[in-house]
Each structure stands twice: as structure tokens, then as C-alpha cells.
Amino acid sequence: MRYLYYPGCSAEATGKAYDISTRALMGKLGVELVELDDWNCCGATSYFSVRELDSFAIAARNLAIAEKQGDEDLCVICNACYTTLAKTNRYMAESAEVREAVSGALGAVDRTYSGNKPVRHIMDVLVNDIGLEALGEKVTRRLTGLKVACYYGCQYSRPMGDFDDPEFPVTMDKFFQALGAEVITDFAGKAKCCGGMMMLTKEEGALRMCHELLKGAHDAGADVIVCACPLCEMNVEGYQPRVNKTFGTNFDMPVMYFTQLAGLAFGADPKQLAIDKQIVSCDRVVAAIPA
């Protein structure tokens, strides 16, 4: 199995551990990831706020490179990158204006794009290409007894809903159940917003969202929150001290990229999965997994 791989900008900085653990996890599963050559920022939500056609066109530069580089699907780890790239395909298919503008803009830099490169979220690849049964068979260290709150975030399945429900996604729950974990399937915050960039522009609003998420996971008895987006991870993990200070709470909740916890189940060691890069120590999570 082979995929083209788009890490995204955060994977080079605050979300480094997501990239490192993704490569380790996929290595353990025998999936080859070929990094997209000279990829650029997808544009994320900020770019849409300046010029819409520009945002589709710069996202499409990546898709044009992918189409030229290989026949494999493009695997994306960050929710925001995934939505931006998949949305570009969708809007190119739906709107002649977008299609013409993007084609013209790519033409100006000697590139072409048909609009047909499949953009796949890594969880979609794991659950639907490899399959839960095959995954279950490959587990070397089952996550027995570990209570996991799966935090999908907004742009995992909204607005596209291509591989999971936009309101109540379940793929990550099923994935961790296949790995033997006890998943908090009714975690109310699973697809709620972490506040995103608002953490910097309107902190009180974003802190309140993170507080609700942490409280929901904590009250449900979660040992760990797992994330599929670098921004979610950063807010829910990195801002715990600010949440505690603002709301008089005492959260000390381990937060991991889902690839880090999954990597442990497939026999990678914590160092390979960059678990030491987490701010809230995950030692007790690692120790809780039966050898």
C-alpha cells in the first residue's frame, strides 16, 4: 500500500509529533507514505478570508503536484488541511467559475489539474482501506482497560461528511475499539470546536470551549484524549494551565495525537512516536497499557 502524503505546516512545528508518529505508525502497518514534493500551505481558514479564488488556487497547486507525482491517493493528517483540499475538489466540480479560475491560475505557473485527485483523511485510509479486522489482527499490545475520549474536532467530517457523519462521527471510536481500548462513545464534545485560531484573537471564548471539552472527558473518566488535528491538540493540551486558571479547575489530562496512542498498540516505542514532546506527561498512559 502506498499513498502520497501531505503533512501540513503545523507538522513542522507545534504538531511535529503528529508527523513523526504518523510515519512510525504507517511504517508498522506496512503502508508507504511518499511526501508530496515541494508542497505549500493549504491556505487553511485564514486564506478563505481574503480571496476565495486564491485559496482554491493555492490549495490546488498541491493537488496538481500530487496528480503529476503519482496515481496514489493523497493522504492528509490535519483536519483543516483535509477539509481545505477536499473542499477545493468539491468546489471545482460544482462551480464552473472556480474551475476556470483555478485552471487559469495554475496555467500561469505551468501547472495543470483535472480536479480528480482523491483527498483522504488518514483515519479514512486506516478504517476503510486497511480495515478494522486487519488492524485488530496486527495489534501487538492491546489497549485493554484504557479509557479513551476520541476528540474528532470540527473539520474532521464537517462540512464534507465524505467518510463519517458531520454531527456524530464514529470512525475513531471504532478504530480504538479494534485496538482493544474502552472508548467513551458518548463523549459529548467529540465533534465540538476547540476555538481554533480564536485562542489568539478572542481567548476567553476559546478557553470556554476547551474547558467544556476537558470537563466532558474528565467527568466521563477518560485516561487520555486523542486528537486528529494539530490545532485541536495544541488548544486542548497547551492551554490546560490557562483553562485551570480561568475556571478554577485542576485538569491534568494527557492529550495525544491518535497516531501516537495507536502506534503503541502496533509495537512502536514511545520515543519513535515522539510522546516525550507532549506538554502534559503521557507516562501514565504508556504505563497503563498492558505489556
Binding site: C9, E12, A13, T14, G15, K16, A17, D38, W39, N40, C41, G43, T45, S46, Y47, F48, S49, V50, R51, E52, L53, D54, A57, I58, R61, Y91, S95, E97, A101, G104, A105, A108, V109, R111, C154, Q155, R158, P159, P166, E167, K192, C193, G195, G196, M197, M198, L200, T201, K202, G205, A206, M209, G238, Y239, P241, R242, D276, K277, Q278, I279
Partner: protein, 195 residues
Amino acid sequence: MTELATTLEALAVHKQFCEDVLNMPGGEKIKICQQCGTCTGSCPTSYLMDWGPREIIAAFRAGMIDRVVKSNTIWLCTSCYSCTVRCPAGIKITDLMYELKRLAIKYDLAPKDGKAPAMTKYFIDSVHKHGRNHEVELMAKFMLTKDWGLPFKFAGTGLKLFTAGRLPLFAKNIRGRDELDKISAYLEAQEAKAQ
């Protein structure tokens, strides 16, 4: 802040603004909003807004463009898409918020001291400079111009992030970063041609 609807020029801007919104992909659906309020009820930040998304749509349709662009609403949208997936009329409300932000910037109506418009601008500057968003540069620029207190509030976590290697000081530049400028220049020229 420009007072619209006071001069003929402003009236032309007003008209163009309305056309721009209705011409965005799916924009014409704004006409069939039934004012049910599902968007506002679904929005995690509506409690902070001057006007919820439902009211923004009502104000827009009533031609109250000043109210729409001067509200804090458009800058509080976090792009969670809850409204978009729930709207019974199929209005792409998140896209509408993007369009309104864009037009507020285009017609110079965004709040001058706003943190969110500055963040948006710095993000795009970083992408055009390096081809990728350099998070550290973005945060540093934002702190220097918009939030001096941030390094102090965030010092403990910032230090931990730094020592864990999660805040690289130097940006990686992609080879084709001039392509992004060319893409923007092309689209700008096309837009100028169309008007």
C-alpha cells in the same frame, strides 16, 4: 470606519458588495433563508456576537451593510461549519462569513485595531513569503503588534513547547514560493479585467 450610503460612490460600493455576496458559489441561497435560527443556535460563539448569523443574514437582506461589516460577528466565526451542515435551506453560512470578511477587508471596513483581521493578514504574508505558514513567525508578529501580554500569559507552556522542539525558529522555504505570488497576481488581473 467609512460611513456608507452617504455618497454616490458609497452607494456603488454598497451595490457591488451585495452583488459580490450573492455571486459567491451558492450565494443566491441567502434569498431563501427562512430565519429559523438554527445557525445561531448551533454556533459555539454566537453568545459573544453583536448579532448572530441569523440576524446578519436578515440585516444583509435589508441592505444594512454597515451593520453587517461593523459587527464583531464575522471575526468570531471559527469555521466549525456546524451552521452549514444544519441549515435547512442549504446556505453555506461559513462561506458567507468568509465572503463578508473578504469584503470587509477589500472595502477597508474591517476594524483597524482588530486582532482577527491582523492574524489573517500575517498568516497570508507568511505563506507568500515561505510557501508555508511559519507558526513561530506568525505568533511573534502577532504578539509584537496586537498582544504584548501573550508571552507572559503563555510563558510556561511556551517554554515547554520550545524545549520539546515544537517551536522551530527558522522557516523552511519551498522551492516554488514565487508560484503563489504569480497565482495571486493572475487572479487579481482577471478580477480587474472583469470589473
